[in-house]
């Protein structure tokens, strides 16, 4: 009983802390989303416009200056926002659909199949995400699509493993047995009882994966395996700014800060989501 009491007092304190982080997270991510949306209807310059002087410092005409080819950095940054969000969302959707399906299958499977799937998942997870993504991109060719698929596939293994564990836990609850004796068949049980109960924890994990995906894409782009310019991502911008980071630091700092904002913002939101998933909320004894 005291364990429950401790949990509820810790929660009260933590909840106040979390509402600040949630708010900050929403502001950070919201800013990026806003910029991306704006970029769909308006950009300071055309993406391929190289009319500016090279490596110009921030000024009235070029708010963040220009890159080494004379392209407006602010424009590049805004496009990069769009790409980061598309990659994050795309890979999370792929990872979630694939991962949840595999995870559910493993949880319901006969033990030999479950063991096989779990072993396979362990192998995929042990593989460094980046390496895995690189292999796929190298095979498919560098494009936004192949990057999303690559990251999504790597992510699905982690999601699958979590889904499997959460599903098994729910399957042990008496309300699942009660559903069976109420005449509900397994598909109905999955939709009405299992998914709603695993979703809180799963959604927190997926939110975190979003941040991982964005960073993974940035790393791939930095290594030259991401979407090619002029529709380049922040990672690509970082790579291009490498050589001139001393003389024209804005070229590296801007995308760097943008990445930090998005990833930390997403992590803060995930933290706040955890509050919703808090088991103490479900009512303790």
């Amino acid at each position: 009983m005291s364990a429950v009491l401790i949990a509820s007092t810790d929660v009260a304190r933590a909840r106040r802390h979390r509402s600040w982080t949630l708010l900050s997270g929403l502001v950070l991510v919201g800013t990026v989303v806003l910029v991306a949306l704006i970029s769909l209807v308006w950009l300071p310059y055309a993406p391929a416009d190289t009319t500016g002087t090279r490596l110009e410092a921030p000024s009235g005409t070029h708010w963040l200056g220009t890159d080494k080819l004379g392209r407006d950095l602010a424009t590049q940054l805004m496009i990069g926002a769009r790409i980061a969000l598309v990659v994050g969302l795309g890979s999370v959707v792929i990872g979630a659909i694939l991962g949840i399906t595999i995870g559910l299958t493993a949880a319901f499977a006969a033990s030999w199949l479950d063991d096989t799937i779990s072993a396979a998942l362990d192998v995929v997870i042990a593989f460094p995400v980046l390496l895995l993504a690189m292999l796929i991109v190298a095979a498919q060719g560098a494009s936004l699509g192949s990057v999303i698929v690559a990251i999504g596939l790597a992510m699905s293994a982690v999601v699958a493993r979590l889904t499997r564990v959460l599903t098994k836990r729910v399957l042990g609850e008496q309300f699942v047995t009660a559903a069976r004796t109420s005449g509900t068949r397994w598909p109905g049980i999955v939709v009405r009882h299992i998914l709603p109960n695993i979703w809180p924890t799963l959604s927190v994990n997926l939110a975190l994966q979003f941040g991982v995906a964005v960073l993974a894409e940035a790393s791939l782009s930095y290594l030259g395996l991401g979407a090619p310019p002029p529709n380049a991502s922040w990672g690509r911008l970082l790579q291009e700014a490498q050589g001139t980071v001393i003389t024209a630091p804005v070229g590296a700092i801007a995308p760097g800060i943008a990445l930090i904002m998005l990833v930390i913002g997403v992590n803060f939101i995930a933290d706040g989501l955890r509050d919703v998933a808090d088991p103490a909320r479900k009512g303790s004894r």
Partner: protein, 249 residues
């Protein structure tokens, strides 16, 4: 007999024998108590009776016939269950209306407004107000949750209620209320009850007949009164004697 186990044995995959040649039955309007301690096999009996597992040998009969997929719907509508843990037997993410209406929905017995009416009536029968419909399990106490579970189990008017340790997780004061509720339901609807418990006093309060289970075997069976006052077998005697009693008034 509504539900019957005939010469049932159950062996785990690892080889251990959970049940050995057990025969138990519940007829219309009867109330049978199954007493057993841990390791007696009572949980296995519950699973077999709910068609959640199949016996290694022997048969499980519903209205005299084996439970085949074609008859499953009718079986589920006739035999409903109340589980032990009121904190685990209600889906925390569903509201009360959804929880209690589940048998109606899944068995295709009623939907929409008709289902809601049946749910409201069922909740009223267990002493819960209609405003409970939109609320969630965590807003209710253990005793209230168990009532909700009983409402769910009786909403489709089953013929047999299987109660698996229905009051073990409750406080003493709540225990009596839930037992009284079950007795009342039995009296007003003619519901048959099979109650599985390690608590002899709960069984004594509700069940006319008692079956004593020990190490997977039926040790003794008969009218509850005789089992309590004149047990024939050593184990039964030891069991009855071990129940802590209040000092005489």
């Amino acid at each position: 007999m509504i539900l019957e186990l005939r010469n049932v044995s159950y062996r785990y995959r690892k080889g251990a024998l959970a049940l050995d040649d057990v025969s138990i039955g519940v007829g219309e309007g009867q109330s049978v108590g199954l007493v057993g301690e841990s390791g007696s096999g009572k949980s296995t009996i519950v699973r077999l009776m709910l068609a959640l597992a199949r016996p290694t040998t022997g048969t499980v009969l519903f209205d005299g016939e084996p439970i085949v997929p074609a008859r499953l719907g009718r079986f589920r509508a006739s035999v409903q269950t109340v589980f032990q843990d009121p904190y685990s037997s209600l889906d925390p993410r569903q509201n009360i209306e959804s929880i209690v209406a589940e048998p109606l929905r899944s068995l295709g017995l009623a939907r929409g407004a008709e289902a809601r009416a049946l749910v409201t009536a069922s909740l009223a029968a267990v002493g819960l107000p209609a405003d409970a419909l939109r609320r969630f399990p965590h807003e209710f106490s253990g005793g209230q949750r168990q009532r909700i579970a009983i409402a769910r189990a009786t909403v489709c008017h089953p013929r047999l209620l299987l109660a698996d340790e229905p009051v073990s997780a409750l406080d003493v004061t709540t225990r009596i209320q839930v037992i009284d509720l079950l007795a009342e339901l039995r009296a007003s609807t003619g519901l048959a009850i099979l109650m599985v418990s390690h608590d002899l006093s709960a069984i004594a309060a509700l069940c006319d007949e008692t079956v004593v289970l020990h190490n997977g075997r039926v040790v003794e069976a008969g009218p509850t009164a005789s089992i309590l006052t004149a047990p024939r077998e050593d184990y039964t005697r030891a069991l009855v004697a071990a129940v802590p009693r209040l000092p005489l008034a």
